[in-house]
Structure formats: C-alpha cells, structure tokens
C-alpha cells in the first residue's frame, strides 16, 4: 500500500507526529521478519529494524515519494544495514539457526505457535509427530536460506517471505528486472536442492 505510506510521510514532513508512529506500526512486523530471515538472527533483527526506522526518521525531510516508494526505500535501507552487519560479524555467525526458528517453545514463540495452530490439521498437542516434523522442516528451510549466497538470499527473502513484487525488488536492490527474476529463480532452484532430504 505505497499510497498510504507516502501520504503518511508527507503528513510527517508537515509536522504530523503521529504519522511516523503509524508508519512504524504498519511496517515493524514485516521489517523484523525480513531482517530476521535474511540475517538468520532473531535477536539482532529488532535492533536493526529500529536502526532502519531511525535512519528513515532522520532523513524524513528529504524524502520524496516521486523518487522512491516508502516501502522500497525502507527495505533498501534495511538491506544495507543487514549487509553491513553480516560483513562486520563475518561468516562465523551465519548459521545461527537457533535464534530464528528453534526458539518457539518458550517465551518468544508467538509466530511459532500461530504457525503450528494454523498449519496442523487438528490440535497440534494431539499430534506431536506432525508438529515436530513441521518444526524440523522449518528449521531446515531457514538453514537452507541462510546458506544461500547473499545476492540470491536477499531477493528470495523479499519475494517469498515479504511478498514484494519483482518491480519492487528491483527497486530495492537496484537491479535490472531480468537480473532480479533470474536470481530469484536461481535461489529457488538452490533451495530445492538443499531441501531434497525433506521435500
């Protein structure tokens, strides 16, 4: 819904303080999900998402909706922050799957629980094997995504987890549309191979 976002930015530029709050509310969940899935680290995702909003806040008065839509601008900033973060921490932490998907049993398992309820055919507590299988599959998928080279992982997450259009992804990553399409297809083919034992 880029129109509303752009309107909110305009309102914020004119001094409507609630408009920025509303923008954060609209985008905080997708942004945290995107970052957590992309860098494979739930703990740092929130911090980086906030950093993204801080940058947006600071650059708000220069924002022009005719140059870029809010959503693609936000993902562009977030992507760069994530790339910097990954570069800084190096390869050693790339495979911290646990933070993202293994933590569903205790305090921070909202999404996990919602998913189990939504996807299991009946009460998941009565079907522990199915719940376990699904959890294993999700762990495997997240691990497989984390193992993709960055240039394939990023467009794949934007497409298949964030639901951005190819045009939007091209704008976020400043890629030609053909490159975006072929990278996403390549990423999916790589995932298919990595998930061979499971699917």
């Amino acid at each position: 819904m880029p129109e509303l976002d752009d309107e909110l930015m305009e309102r914020y530029q004119k001094g409507d303080e609630n408009a920025f709050t509303l923008l954060v509310r609209r985008h905080q969940q997708p942004l945290v999900n995107f970052i957590a899935r992309f860098i494979n680290d739930k703990d740092s995702a929130e911090d980086l998402a906030q950093e993204t909003f801080i940058r947006i806040f600071k650059a708000a008065n220069r924002y022009k909706s005719e140059n870029a839509h809010f959503k693609t601008w936000m993902y562009h900033i977030a992507s760069n922050l994530c790339k910097n973060e990954l570069r800084n921490r190096g390869r050693r932490d790339r495979y911290r799957v646990d933070n993202v998907v293994n933590s569903g049993s205790d305090s921070d398992g909202d999404a996990e629980q919602i998913d189990l309820i939504a996807s299991a055919p009946a009460n998941p507590e009565l079907q522990p094997e199915i719940a376990l299988e699904r959890k294993e599959l999700r762990n495997a998928i997240q691990k497989a995504i984390a193992e993709l080279p960055e240039q394939y992982r990023l467009p794949l997450v934007l497409r298949d987890l964030q639901g951005l259009s190819y045009d939007e992804i091209s704008e976020v990553l400043e890629l030609r549309s053909g490159t975006t399409k072929s990278r996403i297809n390549r990423a999916r083919l790589m995932l298919k191979e990595k998930l061979k034992p499971f699917i």
């Binding site: 303080e17 609630n18 999900n33 995107f34 950093e51 870029a68 900033i77 910097n84 999404a111 399409k181």
Partner: protein, 198 residues
C-alpha cells in the same frame, strides 16, 4: 527446449507469467521429460514451504524502545558518531546513486548537529516512561506505547540543512516548550502487527 532451459522457466511458470510461445515450449518439454516433471513438482513444493514459514513478530516493546533510542541518540553524540561511521559506506554509495543518498548524508549532518546540541544541554525530556506490560492473554496484550515522534519539521531543524542562524535561534530558546512537545501520550495497542509478508 532442453532441461536447463526448462529449469530457467520454473519460477515464471509457477507464477503464471510465461508468454504463450514459451509456455507451449515449457509444457511440451515437461510432458516429454520425466526428470523435469519431478524436479518441477519439488520446486513448487519447496517454494510453497518457504512461503509458509511463520512470520517473526517484534516484541511488544518495539515502539517504546525505538522512541527511547531516538531520544537517546539525539542526546548522545557518541552514538551519533557510531551511526555516522556505519553510514559512511552508504553515504559513499549514495554519492554515486543520488536517489539513495539521503540516509548517509543525514546521518553525518545529524552527527555534527547532535554534537553541537549536546554542548547546549538535552533537547528531549529524559524522563521517558518505562513501559509496563499488563498481560492478560498472549493474544491480547494492552501495551502502553509512546505516541509522539519528533516531527519532520523538528528533525529538519535538528539535522539542519538550514542556516546556522536558525540553529542559533532554536538553541537560545529554553528547552521547556520542546520538552512539552515530546511528552509521551499513552495509547492502547492491540497486537496489530500480524499482517505483512505472505
């Protein structure tokens, strides 16, 4: 069409964006090639499995923490320097691509402005409220959240593409009105962040 060429069209066929001629070629190949049929089924299954990954939710404190960070960074020049440092590469990129230059440039300008303001005393009310969560159930938490962000006009004055004169005039104004402006309102917030993504 051979197997490698067919593979290149998996996504487009899955998303139903192939043109008629390519569609004919693709489906013609699959009809004759069991290996590609198998791989395409697995391709679809794995894409769907990825798309069904659960959404990861931010903590209920996301907004209040963000608000506090914004206030802190306006006050603390060292954290602004940190932002400027991480934003440096982006700025350089931005200079090559003007469209995205905003973030880096603003971070640097803000770092300078922030250092300047810091010497003059805090701009924001330090007494940001502590968020307490009264959790009735997991699905329906009512979480008090700060409502007001500094306005864009305010941030424009803070980051200052304006003249030194204007900054002076702001700084010579007592901090009180500004603090009043940033008094945080408490609003009720009902777990509204479940949308987004697929």
């Amino acid at each position: 069409m051979n197997c490698l060429q067919a593979e290149e069209h998996f996504s487009a066929h899955f998303e139903d964006t192939l043109d008629y001629q390519t569609l004919q070629g693709f489906e013609g190949h699959l009809a004759a090639c069991e290996a590609c049929q198998r791989e395409y089924v697995r391709f679809q299954e794995s894409v769907k499995a990825v798309q069904q990954l659960p959404q990861i939710e931010p903590s209920p404190y996301f907004m209040s923490t963000l608000q506090q960070r914004l206030a802190t960074e306006e006050r603390d020049p060292s954290s602004l320097k940190a932002i400027a440092a991480t934003g440096w590469k982006q700025l350089l990129n931005g200079l090559r691509r003007p469209k995205w230059a905003l973030g880096g440039i603003m971070a640097l300008i803000l770092a300078a402005a922030g250092t300047y303001f810091y010497q003059e005393g805090p701009l924001f009310n330090q007494d940001l409220h502590q968020v307490s969560v009264s959790s009735t159930s997991q699905k329906q938490q009512i979480v008090p959240l700060p409502e007001a962000f500094p306005s864009a006009q305010q941030s424009r004055r803070l980051v200052g593409d304006d003249s030194q004169l204007q900054r002076r005039s702001i700084l010579s104004t007592p901090a009180q009105p500004m603090q009043q402006r940033y008094m945080l309102k408490q609003v009720s917030y009902t777990n509204a962040s479940t949308s987004g993504g697929l």
